[in-house]
């Protein structure tokens, strides 16, 4: 049986829970390796493809927490047939909401805003951010991901709950959120294009069933989400998803791995 590694940040929690529920239905052996966001920036992937090399500036508790979450502090990526990188951001959704709440953008649906952004300007804003996030997805390796390593699949973080729109949007998006959906799709596509340039073999899209007409995730999927340590988030958390979303994601991962390895 093929063996895959699902590694990532707190967004791995819902997938892990889903795997606990439906592990038997997945035709792969799966290991998980989780490093929560403030800690992940201290971890490095070394030349031997061992992830977990901790830099000197890291707080001491990282080792303890990594052990609690994973049973180990370092994971050898060479042992796996495929690596699934989970939870990377493609683009900050709050920034897109802030922009589209006030601006119409050429090429997206228009709402007679007093402010108009050209497509080039929008792309000019997005590109450095997408580039930075794409590099992170390949562990900031200078030459990207190469064939000497197991194939890398990226499963980006879920789009936030549509509640974010209710909380942030006071202007144009309140009346017509359609351009948000278009913009997020466009940015995801650009992100996908960017990471593929860095050697990523596949990028898993947002689960279509979970996406609302605004382009954000249906509220139902953000209720009852868990932290990486298995504790329930409170209702105000809009960025993490629950087990139902994790099940959708795990199915997508399974399909993507099957397609890649067969």
């Amino acid at each position: 049986m093929k063996r895959i590694l699902i590694m990532g940040n707190s967004h791995t929690a819902c997938i892990r829970k889903a795997w606990n529920n439906m592990g038997g239905e997945v035709p792969f052996e799966i290991d998980f390796f989780v490093a929560i966001v403030p800690h992940a920036r201290h971890l490095r992937l070394n030349r031997n493809l061992e992830y977990g090399d901790i830099d000197n500036s890291a707080p001491r508790r990282i080792t303890k927490i990594l052990k609690q979450l994973n049973g180990c502090t370092v994971i050898d990526l060479k042992k796996y047939d495929a690596i699934i990188r989970v939870g990377n951001r493609t683009f900050p959704t709050d920034l897109v909401i802030e922009l589209l709440d006030r601006f119409d953008v050429d090429g997206l649906s228009l709402r007679e805003s007093a402010h108009r952004l050209s497509r080039n300007c929008f792309a000019g804003m997005a590109e450095p951010i997408l580039h930075k996030h794409a590099k992170r997805a390949v562990f900031n390796r200078k030459k990207g991901w190469d064939d000497s390593a197991p194939p890398l699949i990226v499963a980006p973080a879920p789009r936030p709950s549509e509640k974010m729109l209710e909380e942030m949007a006071n202007g144009l998006l309140r009346k017509n959120p359609h351009p948000l959906s278009e913009a997020l799709d466009m940015l995801d596509e650009k992100f996908s294009h960017e990471v593929r340039k860095w050697g990523v073999r596949a990028v898993i899209p947002q689960p279509p069933k979970a996406i609302s007409s605004s382009g954000l995730t249906h509220n139902t999927y953000s209720q009852g989400s868990y932290t990486a340590r298995g504790e329930l988030h409170n209702d105000s958390d809009l960025t993490h998803m629950n087990v139902a979303w994790g099940e959708l994601r795990l199915k997508q991962i399974s399909d993507a791995v099957a397609e890649l390895l067969t």
């Binding site: 920034l95 108009r116 050209s118």
Partner: protein, 322 residues
């Protein structure tokens, strides 16, 4: 609100850094980096009109805002890209079609109107007397066809070097009409110390610079003397004074150095922090604050944003070297 030639960007930036309420009617979210915003003409001035080099351009902008004037050839093209002829630096790669350029401009003019109506101080930096004018309609452009883009009939656009009386009359017209729109409006004028790099006047560039700066400085002086609601800020003198022996210019002898910008802006802020009484600035100059401020400029005050370059159109320079 601020407007003018590229040196005016320093004024706006210094004011923002010191928490003056500088109007920006076309703002971007704060998370967008300055490098991207400036490339597309945001955060330069109180609306996205780019550099306004001549007083005639300023009047023309007001005409457009008030709907009394439509420029001839408002859209220029380069290949299959289309550009706003009146503000070439806001979309460096142009837009997809002419209609889009006009629609962007329509919205921009609405936002400019909001800036005109909500400001209580208009800071203008006079930059040039040289301009390119459409002979049939007297439309003034910031640069010549064939530089960043062109039109089918470039011969309709010719060089014009504005005189003292034209420049003074233009700004007086602008002031009068702005006071009609916005009775509370006051004005602070200044002359850009940045010399010309090229000229289309046929004169040597040093001669052309001297003419241009003399006209602009004299206009500022006349405005200051004539109107109680017009104040003058001596950025030109701070930078170009012979007593400074050129120390406030970069090695290219054209760009104002960071120390120069700092000296000028320190003086500006010293004069204007607080309640901005109309004559404070002149008083400071009389007391020798220019010299004091110049010395302070050499101190190592760290202001990261102040160090950022201003956006000047090299294509404009190219235009004048034709």
């Amino acid at each position: 609100m601020t407007a003018g030639s590229c040196f005016a960007q320093h004024v706006g930036r210094a004011l923002k850094q010191h928490d003056f309420n500088v109007i920006d009617t076309e703002p971007l979210p704060a998370d967008i980096p300055d490098a991207v915003a400036l490339k597309f003409g945001y955060r330069m001035y109180s609306a996205r009109y780019g550099n306004i080099y001549t007083a005639r351009q300023l009047v023309q902008l007001l005409d457009e805002v008030e709907g009394t004037f439509r420029p001839a050839h408002p859209v220029w093209h380069r290949g299959n890209r289309h550009f706003d002829a009146m503000r070439p630096n806001v979309e460096p790669d142009g837009l997809d079609n002419a209609e889009l350029v006009l629609e962007h401009r329509r919205l921009h003019l609405e936002n400019t109107a909001r800036a005109f109506d909500s400001a209580n101080l208009f800071i203008f930096t006079f930059g040039l007397t040289e301009a390119w004018v459409h002979t049939g309609t007297q439309t003034v452009y910031p640069t010549a066809p064939g530089t960043f883009a062109t039109i089918e009939t470039p011969e309709e656009i010719t060089f014009h070097n504005f005189s003292y009386s034209e420049t003074l009359a233009d700004f007086e017209e602008f002031r009068t009409r702005m006071k009609t729109r916005n009775q509370d409006m006051r004005f602070l004028v200044t002359t850009s110390p940045v010399p010309l790099t090229a000229t289309a006047s046929g004169e040597h560039v040093e001669v052309a610079t001297c003419y241009s700066k003399s006209v602009l400085r004299a206009v500022c002086g006349a405005l200051y003397q004539k109107y109680d609601d017009v104040d003058y800020f001596p950025s030109y003198e701070v930078i170009t004074s012979l007593n400074n022996r050129g120390v406030y210019f970069e090695n290219n002898k054209r760009s104002v150095s960071k120390a120069g910008v700092r000296a000028a802006m320190d003086l500006f802020l010293t004069a204007h922090l607080g309640e901005m009484p109309g004559s404070t600035l002149q008083k400071k100059v009389n007391e020798g604050a220019v010299r004091k401020s110049a010395k302070q400029g050499k101190s190592a005050r760290s202001k990261a944003a102040e160090d950022a370059d201003v956006i000047c159109e090299d294509i404009l320079l190219e235009a004048f070297s034709r």
